[in-house]
Amino acid sequence: MAKPTDVVRIGVGAGFADDRIEPAIDLVERADLDFLVFECLAERTTARESLTRRHDPEKGYNPRLIERMERILPLCLDKRVRIVTNMGAANPGGGARAVRKMAEEQGLGDVPVAVVEGDDIESIIRTMPELPVMETGEPVESLLPNMVAAHAYLGADVVCRGLETGAPLVITGRVSDPSLFLAPAMHYWKWAPDDLPRLAAGTIAGHLLECSGQLTGGCFADPGMKDVPDLAHLGNPYADITLDGQVEVGKCPDTGGRLDRATATEQLLYEMHDPAAYITPDCVLDVTDVELHESGPDRVRVTGAAARPHTDTYKVSVGYHDGFIGEGQVSYAGINAVARAKLAAEIIQQRLRENPYNYTEMRVDLIGMSSLHGREPDGPEPYEVRLRVAARCDSRAAAGQVGFETRAMHVNGPSGGGGGIDPIIREILAVQSVLLPRQLVKPRIYVEGAA
């Protein structure tokens, strides 16, 4: 599947932390890629990995980095496909060293790895307690005692500097998702960082690609209404981008899924607020006039994206300890099942109120009825219902009681309660965002190993 000579082809290796690896391998083997991008950092992941790094200074990168690279790096070296990934998480340097060690052990030789750091700006945030939290407007000061990490979303310019080292693999920490894809195009075509029409092209391509299979038919199927072929073998997408910023997205033939106007429109608007102002570190993207044209089987041409200059700030994710959530579940079936589940919920909540702990927020879900959309449906009651109780608490012990009291419904509650689970206790790392003047952030780019 040779690519046209006038495009750079950028494929998606992963669009979330738990993505499959086979579609990435298939792309490298068959799609004639120039670059492969793995986007694997959810909002709170860098905070969680910062805690890991405190326990082990060489860890704190994505736990799947090595298993992924074991599968993909030999192929990419062979086919001269360069890799960009944010799997460095809270420790890109540590990740780079671990990959090099793996490569050495696998007989791949001395593989240089470019490292992009400087997104970790916790120490700066500590000196700026007055910064307002974006959603609440309150000063970030109240979060500081419980803060575990703060990372700025860096942009494509910094990733480009990693690519300029010539290393076959560039590992970053927190970088905005579209920037990971814009960067290879900028680097390949030597676009200027203020070339707005081309930044718009690379950014919209990145935005479409960043969730991988969500462009090619994932998160889309509704049997009989919106059918998607062979989802079990869903293919990952790639983008073809020309020197002057023409964009087409496609996927490998003989893979599952579909790529057309419908799937591309859903993904274009995914996680977008004002379509005229999608803010990234690289530009402010305007998709108001975007048009999608089906230019071939599973192939869509994207036109009409525009951009304005980037803002003066970086968005920063502040991760902080936010107590615990405890949870329990138990099921009821048959005649009057819903009433029995509701009685169980009352008993559990009363037991929790009467214990010495303080639950600041409780939630009762009737799974099968109201747990997702939050309203009880009209019409006949379901034959089975699963009760779920969750509560916010300030200690592990308090959280454990939620599941304990729920499982007690097996014996001490309404008739026929079964299928309880071990108490779920989750330690919460929450995230809030602040905006930080860009000049305060000092990105660092270096190479592990001889370039």
Binding site: E135, T265, E266, L269, L372, V431
Partner: protein, 103 residues
């Protein structure tokens, strides 16, 4: 009555405590109805038991799509919500249940 489900398809995304929910029409006729009838107020009403809002609506006529930005819909946000579906991915299918007057 027409259901939004019969006229278009939907996807939900999350940012902090805000859900954005797009509705894309299957065809021009569906787009006419959606554009006219699926107002921010109608959507705010359908989600009012989840959040007081506000709800903002954006139009993308070239894509025959609407984008609704619904504040406060995610129980405090992905990282701290007590809900089962912390991302609110299933909130996309709530908008499809809304009934609209046909022409």
């Amino acid at each position: 009555m027409l259901r939004v489900y019969d006229l278009g398809h939907s996807r939900a995304g999350d940012k902090g405590n805000t859900s954005n929910i797009s509705v894309t029409a299957y065809d021009d006729a569906g787009w006419d109805v959606l554009q006219r009838e699926l107002t921010a107020a109608v959507v705010a009403q359908a989600y009012s038991h989840i959040t007081p809002g506000p709800v903002r609506r954006y139009e993308l006529p070239k894509l025959r799509a609407l984008n609704f930005v619904i504040e406060g819909a995610l129980g405090g946000g992905v990282t701290r919500s007590l809900a089962q579906d912390v991302h609110g991915k299933s909130l996309s299918t709530l908008i499809l249940t809304i009934e609209l007057p046909g022409r």
